[in-house]
């Protein structure tokens, strides 16, 4: 019997630092598989965020730059404008993309920059220890919202896919999750599609991936999956929000 399962070529052979039950590992693998499938590893430049995935360059076996908090889309813009032949992706969390980097992502998307963004939304700041994010749910507790997110004070969580899809510039904007195998195949297709649009020089592409953070949610990995399905996915509904004509 032949080999049926192996590590993607685009991943390095190291253990990650991610917590048990965290979905970063699955998402890394899907991105690496898409890069392998498309045969583009040797011309990919990834851009790591500030947050839990800041060390992503330890896990991807391709060129990588490391951004300041929220600035990955501006760096990706710089790379794509001077080297359109490179395949560029940013990998950003919700604090990075939806809070401090809101300006950069909106304008990069609106310019139609031909790079791909993987947006990992787990509704909390992970690396800094569980502070409230722009995507934290109403009533959800965080270290800086000890009584739960009070929407009277800080507003409702931001739906980034919907917000970016409202821009008039053509783009591929989709929301996926990877909390169960049935979702993973769809997410893989979406990520591959996002890179394909970039290869075709078609449009900006963003895959939001609704994710878990058992450590900072104060849940077991299974509870985190269940809470994601019962709560997050009700608010952050899966599907394609924009597809280029």
């Amino acid at each position: 019997m032949g080999k049926t399962f192996s590590k993607p070529r685009s991943l390095t052979d190291v253990h990650t630092h991610y917590c048990p039950g965290c979905t970063h590992g699955v998402i890394h693998r899907l991105v690496a598989e898409a890069i392998d499938d498309l045969g583009i590893r040797r011309r990919v430049v990834g851009i790591a965020p500030v947050g839990c995935a800041v060390l992503a360059y330890n896990y991807f076996d391709c060129d990588f730059q490391e951004a300041a908090h929220g600035r990955a889309p501006a760096m990706a813009t710089g790379i794509k404008r001077v080297r359109p032949d490179l395949m560029v992706f940013t990998y950003q969390g919700d604090g990075d993309l939806a809070s401090i980097g809101m300006g950069e992502i909106v304008h990069a998307a609106n310019r139609g920059e031909k790079f791909t963004t993987i947006f990992v939304n787990n509704a909390i700041y992970g690396m800094t220890g569980g502070q409230m994010a722009p995507t934290t749910m109403p009533g959800q507790r965080a270290t800086t919202a000890p009584f739960g997110r009070n929407v009277e004070e800080v507003g409702m969580p931001i739906k980034m896919a919907e917000l970016l899809a409202a821009l008039q510039t053509p783009a591929y904007i989709t929301r996926q999750t990877v909390i169960r195998p049935k979702y993973i195949n769809k997410a893989k297709k979406a990520i591959k599609q996002a890179f394909t649009y970039q290869m075709e020089n078609r449009c900006f592409s963003l895959v939001e991936v609704v994710s878990t953070c058992p450590t900072n949610w104060g849940m077991t990995p299974m509870e985190a999956v269940e809470w994601t399905e019962s709560t997050l996915l009700k608010y952050y509904q899966l599907g394609d929000y924009k597809v280029p004509a």
């Binding site: 590893r41 040797r42 011309r43 990919v44 430049v45 851009i47 790591a48 800041v54 060390l55 360059y57 076996d61 391709c62 060129d63 990588f64 730059q65 490391e66 951004a67 300041a68 600035r71 501006a74 760096m75 990706a76 813009t77 710089g78 790379i79 404008r81 001077v82 080297r83 032949d85 490179l86 300006g103 950069e104 304008h107």
Partner: protein
């Protein structure tokens, strides 16, 4: 090539192209917006990249990304805009990427004003970003010198893999002067294959390159800072540039002044000479590295009894002058800022008052 009459800001844009830099990202701000307006038309003619970013914050990172991918790249801005870019400048210095920043300085602090100033001396030479980072800083005193400094900034940035700043007060950007673009200052970009994220296929390598500034291991971070320090020390040894004026004879007072301010001082020195009062001047062309030895030696002339730093700021460079002279001569400051420029007559009055 024949001389052409050009506005400083347009000449700066053209100089970058003539130097071999075809990538420009910027955000509009007075008094340097003409650079962006000029290059918005000019870059398409030469097959270059022009992009107006959404903010100076973003522009700083567009430079970082492009430089990290191995491209020659530059931007221009003015004081408040440079403050916003300073975050990226720290990252670019830490990740050891070459990039060129031009600051056409306006009056500050805060929104300040839009007229010429030299109030960003501290920021450029000592506090450009968080952490132990420095820029190589060149200060032109004419449009021609601005052209030459911009053209030499690119190979210098690549030699040191460090950001370089050309800092001119608003007058340098706004006035028109005859200029020529020396053909011999056009340079080929350096080979960046050993570090740039330019793609494995592009450089024919099987190993990846990383452009980053995070070093969680304190030993590694210290090592990176030692590498940076070695570069800054090398700049101190190899890149100091200055001009001496009227320092051959016995001068009673030494002026230290740079940029537009030094041109006014030169007029004052000529006028004082007709009255029989000899005054010498050291004009730093690099603000970092500062011409410490030149200032120190000039101050040590037996005839020299006083040193004065004349600035379009409230006493910034004077601290470097004091540091260079180490108390061997009295050092004082004179200046105005916010668009007020000391006149030759005012400087003459100050010189006479200081030498008694």
């Amino acid at each position: 090539m024949a001389k052409v009459l050009m506005k400083g800001n347009e000449a700066i844009g053209e100089a970058a192209i003539r130097a071999g830099c075809l990538n420009y990202f910027a955000y509009p701000i007075t008094p340097q917006s003409e650079v962006a307006e000029y290059l918005a038309r000019r870059m398409p003619e030469v097959g270059g990249v022009f992009l107006q970013g959404e903010s100076e914050v973003a522009v700083g990172y567009m430079l970082f990304g492009a430089a990290g991918a191995g491209a020659r790249v530059f931007t221009t801005s003015s004081s408040p805009g440079i403050s916003l870019m300073s975050e990226a400048i720290s990252y670019i210095a830490a990740a050891q990427c070459p990039a060129v920043f031009v600051n056409i300085v306006r009056g500050g602090p805060g929104l300040g004003g839009i007229l010429p100033s030299q109030g960003d001396y501290f920021q450029a030479t000592k506090g450009i970003g968080h952490g132990d980072c420095r820029l190589l800083v060149m200060a032109p005193a004419s449009v021609q010198e601005a052209v030459e400094m911009v053209m030499t900034a690119f190979p210098l940035a690549e030699k040191y893999r460090n950001p370089v700043m050309v800092i001119g007060d608003g007058l340098i950007g706004q006035m028109m002067e005859p200029v020529e673009f020396p053909a011999d200052l056009k340079t080929e970009p350096s080979d960046k294959n050993d570090w740039a994220t330019n793609g494995m296929d592009h450089r024919g390598s099987d190993s990846r390159n990383l452009v980053k500034s995070l070093f969680l291991d304190p030993v590694q971070l210290n090592d990176n800072n030692l590498q940076l320090k070695a570069k800054y020390d090398r700049m101190r040894a190899e890149e100091v540039r200055f001009e001496a004026y009227n320092t051959d004879g016995p001068y009673r007072l030494l002026i230290v002044s740079y940029g537009t301010m030094s041109r006014v001082c030169r007029t004052s020195i000529d006028m004082l000479k007709t009255e029989g009062i000899e005054v010498g001047m050291i004009r730093p062309q690099t603000l970092f590295p500062f011409p410490e030895q030149a200032v120190s030696d000039a101050a040590d002339a037996p005839s020299c009894t006083h040193v004065i730093s004349i600035e379009m700021s409230m006493g910034q460079m004077v601290e470097d002058v004091e540091r260079s002279i180490q108390g061997r001569r009295p050092v004082s400051w004179y200046g105005k800022c916010g668009g007020e420029i000391p006149t030759p007559e005012e400087i003459i009055e100050v010189v006479k008052e200081r030498i008694g």
